[in-house]
């Protein structure tokens, strides 16, 4: 597969899309872990939901 004289433009485009999509996935995954950790920390201090269920339990 030859990309011709404008290969750098094509490769940069695909690399940039991959980088931004990867960044979104990492950011959303890290945010999920951060929220779960904060919920567990608060629950460990004795604060629970009115329902009595764990706030970190999503199932």
């Amino acid at each position: 597969m030859s990309l011709g004289p404008y290969a750098s433009f094509i490769v940069t485009s695909y690399a940039l899309v991959a980088a931004v999509v990867l960044l979104l996935i990492v950011w959303i995954t890290a945010d999920y872990r951060r929220q779960q950790a904060r919920l567990k920390e608060i629950e460990a201090s004795g604060i629970t939901r009115r329902s009595g269920r764990s706030a970190a339990d999503i199932r």
């Binding site: 597969m1 030859s2 990309l3 011709g4 004289p5 404008y6 290969a7 433009f9 094509i10 940069t12 485009s13 695909y14 940039l16 899309v17 931004v20 999509v21 960044l23 979104l24 996935i25 959303i28 995954t29 945010d31 999920y32 929220q35 779960q36 904060r38 919920l39 608060i42 629950e43 201090s45 604060i47 939901r49 269920r53 706030a55 970190a56 999503i58 199932r59």
Partner: protein, 261 residues
């Protein structure tokens, strides 16, 4: 009727979280498979007789451009959900979609620019299509700033919903800018009256990539909505914690004051 029942069911955040826990792994798997197929087809697509291999940029530029408008459409429906139907998850959906929409719009602008340099001889031109998409990007950033500026989520939601609905005027302007004004950008070649003008060798990889990117958005959006629900749980538990601390210190201080009086 069925749709109304489903929407009512999803109004319960706990039920929504359980649903996302079950569906997200499947959605992520299907998205990854479709992206792999789309990327393979894009790599194998022939060169265009005029544009050569740069036509391959189309397979990532067009899905991102479609999604930049589609995400604002989703946010507009969510804005109606906040203002009219007062659906509990509507503002969660709107807030979670904004950064993802901003990312797709950014990618549409940059890949378009990288495609434009070899084809038009310039990275940027202040024509109607490019400028209206840049405005869309700035509106996404404005919405994200608004969400961060107002601490109370329900107050931020109403202001953001109004701004989203006002900003929705820009979507038909983006779509029809190439028909209404003379622009450097080419007119629609896929979604147009009279059918697509693209050859099937380009159309199929483009459609697969468009479906893959749409599924990517749905997956990321559901995951971001789940995070937002958990963030609000953290906020309400922190408020409970703060009020308990205040109550405890008041109770401890109370008898002393009575004693002092």
């Amino acid at each position: 009727m069925k749709l109304t029942e489903t929407l009512n069911d999803l109004a319960n955040p706990t039920r929504f979280l359980a649903l996302t826990a079950r569906t997200l792994p499947w959605l992520a798997g299907v998205t990854a498979i479709l992206l792999a197929i789309g990327l393979y087809q894009s790599a194998m697509a022939p060169d265009d007789y005029q544009q050569g291999a740069t036509v391959k940029i189309m397979f990532i530029h067009v899905p991102n451009a479609w999604l930049s408008m589609f995400v604002w459409g989703v946010m507009s429906v969510a804005a109606l959900g906040t203002l009219v139907w007062r659906h509990p998850l509507a503002d969660v959906a709107a807030k979670a979609a904004a950064p993802i929409g901003a990312a797709f719009t950014f990618l549409a602008l940059v890949t378009g620019s990288l495609w434009g340099r070899p084809m038009w001889g310039t990275y940027w031109e202040w024509d109607a299509r490019l400028t209206s998409v840049l405005i869309l990007f700035l509106m996404y950033l404005g919405l994200m700033a608004l969400w961060r500026a107002v601490e109370d989520p329900s107050r931020a939601a109403r202001a953001a919903a109004v701004l989203t609905l006002v900003g929705a005027i820009n979507i038909p302007i983006i779509k029809f800018s190439v028909d209404w004004w003379n622009t450097l950008h080419q007119p629609s070649s896929v979604l147009r009256m009279g059918g697509s003008t693209l050859d099937k060798a380009f159309l199929w990889p483009l459609l697969v990539m468009a479906i893959a990117f749409s599924l990517l958005f749905i997956t990321l959006h559901l995951a971001a909505m789940r995070n937002e629900i958990l963030r609000r749980r953290v906020r309400s538990l922190q408020m409970m914690q703060a009020s308990r601390v205040a109550f405890t210190s008041e109770a401890a201080a109370g008898p002393k004051e009575i004693g002092a009086a």
